[in-house]
Symmetry: C2
Subunit: 725 residues, 2 copies
């Protein structure tokens, strides 16, 4: 590990755009609801902060440090100061802010042309002020807006200087000077086109705008409009997942708003059936308890309160007047210095907020919606209620993980069965400079780090991103009924000779006090393989229905590659009579997974943290159902939230599962899962191979023929005969 070095980054460099209403935790619980005057408070904080800043001498250090370092943070700070000064001038009419923005931009104009490529340039696309081009786009996006706001106050000489030596110089560098990035259908490209386009509007040069919208050659084969076409699916899903969607969204909404204001005839927000609005909404929908689903390379602590979504929500509210967005803004508790944000704040104060409508939904992936989907199943619109996320998406490019058909389960505000997310400590210098850690590739991206099927201890697509990018799962029917919410998908390209499919359902039945999850995952193959199905459970193990032998005095990694080297084997047991049940306690609730497994299946308990020389990985437990088979495998599971552990009033109820058995039956490609409770109630789920609406199916379930029509059928317990689904 590195020795501590002098800390250079300064807290002053930060948080100017966002003047938060949060205050220190106090003696009494404080509602996180922003004050009635949230925006005005933001405005007043921003003024105070900028007033203090304006008294300091301007110093623009020659670019030297990589991300997180002193010169990096210093220049980031400048962009925020210029942006804020511009917004404050517009909001308050006080010329001192315009003067300051002008002075600061002028100072940059004097030095920027002399800066060559950044000494710490990143391999891909270097910047000049920053180590990477992307940061330079981010800088110009802010500064162009600042300039636009204050230009009317500047002298002709100032304008000349700033426009020529700073704005055009940088815009040229980002467009003609970096054609690969600029024309790329990728969020880095969007940052570049948005920055250049905003510059075009700010200095009234339509040429930049055209290039931004249509690509360098203005043909329309690249540029912002093409990015709008390609980077979001028709449902507004971004194929790297919500963590990057949040980030990618920012230049889209900021630039689109400028297009709307300057070229309303382009009806930018109506393009592609209102794709940008959809993208804002789906970003919010892809969150639980305020945090984004951490699929792919995601940091878990990012959520709907991030700066990007402050703009997104304010602009979406401006477009839609949807009162549900106001409750999202309340949860954010922060405002940005824009008229739209002011309106949001005013309407919250006027008591207009309504709960946001969190939904069960399928978000199709791919520019045409044909490359899989992210399936979100919620027990209710309460963002903290039982929620299931099934990752039937495409790979998600370079930030994608190898977890086809993986899932995440949430309940009562917690991750119950979780995804590791990215192995990275953002901006923490001691952790590999704040970059993605080596363990991100060696563990977090690997299939075994996820809740899905691993064949022969090898990741999907052999862990090759390019291969992964070529294939997406084929989707089965997605159904959102009152008592049955269900999705299925299959993929036969993740492994050479194993086709996988998975059906996951949320079922409400009187036999269970809470909704349960039913999961059927299958590997179809004609040859011998080992199958591992991990469940990264969150909590403390309480019981199993098999003898569990712990590794009590020595531990070894579970394997030596493909992520297995990062898992300690901490115990194992043999499933008895084809049944595996594991129960754990998480906070105040119990969770059980009972699975119908192949005979002689082993259940391995594992813990993340092996082969981790720098203590980079979080220690989290999992159990892994392992079976060897010469002709494929089916594992049917019931995931059951139950009981209550209440240490305050000192009681514990229903700490044991009420599931007695889970059995899987099949007839050709039709499946039937039979669940019996200890009370003798029986719930069944039929899953059809042929998902045609009118196709009829019959499966022999222990001597009884169970028949249905259509893709799925829920057979309720006797207690609850009302309707199927």
């Amino acid at each position: 590990m590195s020795r501590p070095v002098l800390q250079l980054a300064s807290a002053l460099a930060l948080g100017i755009v966002l003047a938060s209403c949060e205050s220190r935790a106090q003696s009494r619980p404080i509602a996180q609801t922003p004050q009635a005057d949230g925006f005005e408070q933001t405005l007043s904080n921003a003024k105070q902060s900028l007033d203090a800043q304006m008294n300091l001498p301007i110093s623009l250090p020659v670019p030297k440090d990589a991300g997180g370092g002193f010169t990096h943070e210093k220049h980031k700070e400048s962009a925020k100061l210029i942006y804020n000064a511009g917004q404050l001038y517009k909001l308050t009419d006080e010329e001192k802010y315009a003067d300051y923005a002008g002075k600061l931009m002028q100072a940059y104009a004097e030095v920027y042309p002399g800066w060559g490529l950044h000494p710490a340039q990143k391999e891909q696309s270097p910047g000049r002020m920053f180590w990477q081009n992307l940061n330079e786009s981010w800088w110009l996006l802010h500064v162009a807006q600042g300039y636009d706001a204050v230009k009317e106050t500047l002298s002709e000489e100032q304008r000349q200087l700033i426009e020529t030596d700073l704005l055009r110089n940088m815009a040229d560098f980002l467009s003609d000077g970096s054609p690969k990035t600029f024309n790329k259908i990728h969020n880095h490209g969007t940052w570049a086109t948005a920055a250049v386009g905003l510059t075009g509007y700010a200095i009234d040069d339509q040429d930049y705008v055209e290039q931004a919208l249509m690509g360098l050659d203005k043909s329309g084969d690249a540029g912002f409009l093409k990015q709008m076409e390609k980077l979001f699916s028709p449902d507004g899903y971004y194929n790297e997942g919500p963590y990057y969607q949040r980030y990618a969204l920012m230049p889209f909404v900021i630039f689109a708003q400028a297009v709307e204001q300057n070229n309303p005839e382009r009806k930018i927000f109506e393009r592609r059936d209102g794709i940008l609005k959809k993208a804002i909404y789906t970003t919010i929908q892809q969150s639980y308890g305020g945090l984004f689903f951490p699929i792919n390379d995601a940091l878990k602590d990012k959520g709907i309160a991030t700066a990007e979504l402050l703009h997104g929500v304010a602009i979406a509210y401006d477009l839609t007047s949807d009162a549900g967005l106001l409750s999202i803004a309340e949860t954010q508790g922060k405002f940005v210095l824009t008229p739209e944000s002011r309106k949001v704040s005013q309407d919250i104060s006027a008591g207009m907020a309504e709960p946001f409508d969190y939904k069960t939904m399928r978000l199709r992936d791919g520019e045409n919606g044909t490359e899989g989907a992210l399936d979100i199943i919620r027990a209710s619109s309460d963002p903290n209620d039982l929620s299931l996320v099934v990752k039937n998406t495409s790979q998600g490019l370079g930030h994608g993980h190898f977890d086809k058909l993986g899932f995440l389960l949430y309940d009562a505000g917690h991750e119950v069965i979780r995804d590791y997310g990215a192995a990275r400590f953002l901006n923490v210098e001691a952790k590999y400079g704040g970059h993605y850690l080596a363990e991100n590739n060696s563990f977090a991206k690997q299939t075994i780090a996820h809740n899905t099927l691993v064949v022969d201890e090898t990741s999907h697509f052999e862990g090759d991103t390019e291969t992964g990018n070529q294939y997406a799962p084929a989707l089965g029917t997605f159904s959102n009924g009152e008592t049955l919410k269900i999705t299925s998908a299959e993929i036969n390209t993740a492994y050479a000779d194993v086709a996988m499919d998975r059906t996951m359902a949320m079922v409400t039945d009187a036999a269970f006090p809470n909704p349960i999850i039913i999961d059927l995952i299958e590997g179809h193959s004609e040859s011998s393989h080992q199958y591992d199905l991990p469940f990264y459970y969150n909590g403390q193990l309480t019981e199993t229905n098999f003898e569990l032998a712990a590794e009590t005095t020595s531990r070894r990694p579970l394997g030596d590659k493909n992520g297995y080297q990062h898992l300690w084997r901490v115990g194992s047991g043999q499933a008895v009579n084809g049944s595996s049940q594991v129960t754990w306690l998480l906070d105040k609730k119990f969770y059980s997974v009972m699975s119908s497994v192949p005979n002689s299946s082993e259940i391995i308990f594992a813990e993340i943290g092996a082969t981790d020389p720098n203590f980079n990985l979080r220690r989290e437990p999992a159990f892994i159902i392992r079976a060897k088979s010469a002709d494929g495998i089916s594992i049917a599971s019931v995931i059951e939230p139950h009981g209550e552990y209440n240490p305050t009033v000192e009681f514990t109820v229903n700490s044991h599962s009420i599931v007695k058995s889970v059995d899987h039956f099949e007839n050709g490609s039709d499946d039937y899962i039979r669940i019996e409770t200890k009370d003798g109630e029986v719930v069944g789920l039929g899953v059809s191979g042929d998902m045609a609406k009118d196709a009829a199916h019959t499966v022999d379930v222990g001597g009884t023929a169970m028949s249905w029509t259509g893709p799925y059928k829920l057979f309720h317990s006797e207690k609850h005969k009302t309707g199927g689904n």
Copy 2:
């Protein structure tokens, strides 16, 4: 692990006394502040709940199950029903509640005399309705109050039957029938005396009251008054610690209130300088973020919202009218069915609540205050601010842990350096029936499980409770200055030939943006020993100032006994030049511990969880400074909260410690700790061997004589010359 069995305990059995105002987590953040009508809501919920209950047939199963089992929970439920019915009758005048209480007690009177000792009786003191006597006392304490409330409505026959066959029968069993428990100076004794005393008042038999107050023989050598004398220290500290204090408090305050009402001439609340009020206050003071300091056998999730403290706070408010208690009641968010609780609710609604005054304080231990102390040092009265707890207490009887001079550190609402607490899952049947686990003795109680010095891998007092009970630390001066809050203590009986002392201080100095902790721990010995000083840090390791070699592909326990068998050795390094520094990230903040250590010290990284066949232990990390010495050891440390990790706005500042060096100097029994920052600021702390107020001290600090008078002296940095302390 056990197989799941049918779950019998019913949620109906519970929570009747407490009708909580808590609601399901909602889409918007909801303030936890109770509604203005908190008590009325409680009352209305209680009525609703009891009305539903009253329609069910009464069934009193023959005692059979141990704690948590069906018959256990069922009888607990009955006591709550009788108590609640009684309170509801008093509060509403509706006779149906009195009738129901009478009917239920009558039913018990018909069966109770026929019940012998409980079949699942616990070794110590068996009950009849319950497996242990203690539960029987709890039952009678509730039912006696219920009877007292409704007796005026009962017929003569009913009263005769209930008084003779239930109340007297049970009271006799708990007093004359269980003399050892009844006369014991122990919280089990208090439950028994309170139950019998309340019965005396309820049936108007002064004999029971006298026995309760003065002991079986009424001599005053035992009984409630003696328990009041002995079980709390003069500062109101209970020697098993806050977790048990909360529990022990309940019968004290309930019975004392009855004494106050029936025999006001006894001035029970004024006895011993108002000891019961003090005890309520100190229970609250011994909490952080609403949860009790988890010293000794404590479950970590218990806090000020427990039922016992609802009564305690309401009664204390009735006695003191201290508006600070109202904010505690707000945090509790729950009310009990008493007139005192109603008053609390009304006064909260009237806006009378003020922040509770959390304090820096020494709580002396022992009936005469001579057996050590619990030292609490807080940066401010904010319950979530930096707080240091130093355990200079006595052993704490059977629930005590072997951690003389141990400490806990909190900050920003989190445990930063933590105590394991008890190894137990209360009422979770699958976890050894919900009892204390074997690992409670083999790990949680052992010295190595705590943040204090371990000599030769052996626990203090060789892990013998009886020996431990004989010795308490000798206290040094406790000082609560503006910039220096400090405590010290020593003990020379924990080990045969090693005397230990420790000084811990919270220091505010301009050289540091936050207060820091200075810690000097010493082992004095003439012979060769190995010394281990663990820090159970909470968070993710970010850096060390020495090469850390992780155990990446195999793990072994750190030892084979005294708790060491439960620690995996996960890495180690050699301190360079007598300096060890470890930094970690917890939530949004960094913490560093820099220590001056003996040359050739090893720093071992460990993780809890070895030799844990049933997955009973939580996986938590520690680092352990290990040194071997022929003539004792001194380790001086600075614990420094620093920086901010902000993933929402994406910045990280001050992730590195600003401490450059920590050095320890001594002159005889006088010590001086010199801290130098990377900015070149120097802060010093002098700690005197002779703590007399006017004794003068001089220590040679690298050629400079540092002199002071009195027990301690803080030498501020040049930046901040104002006052010493």
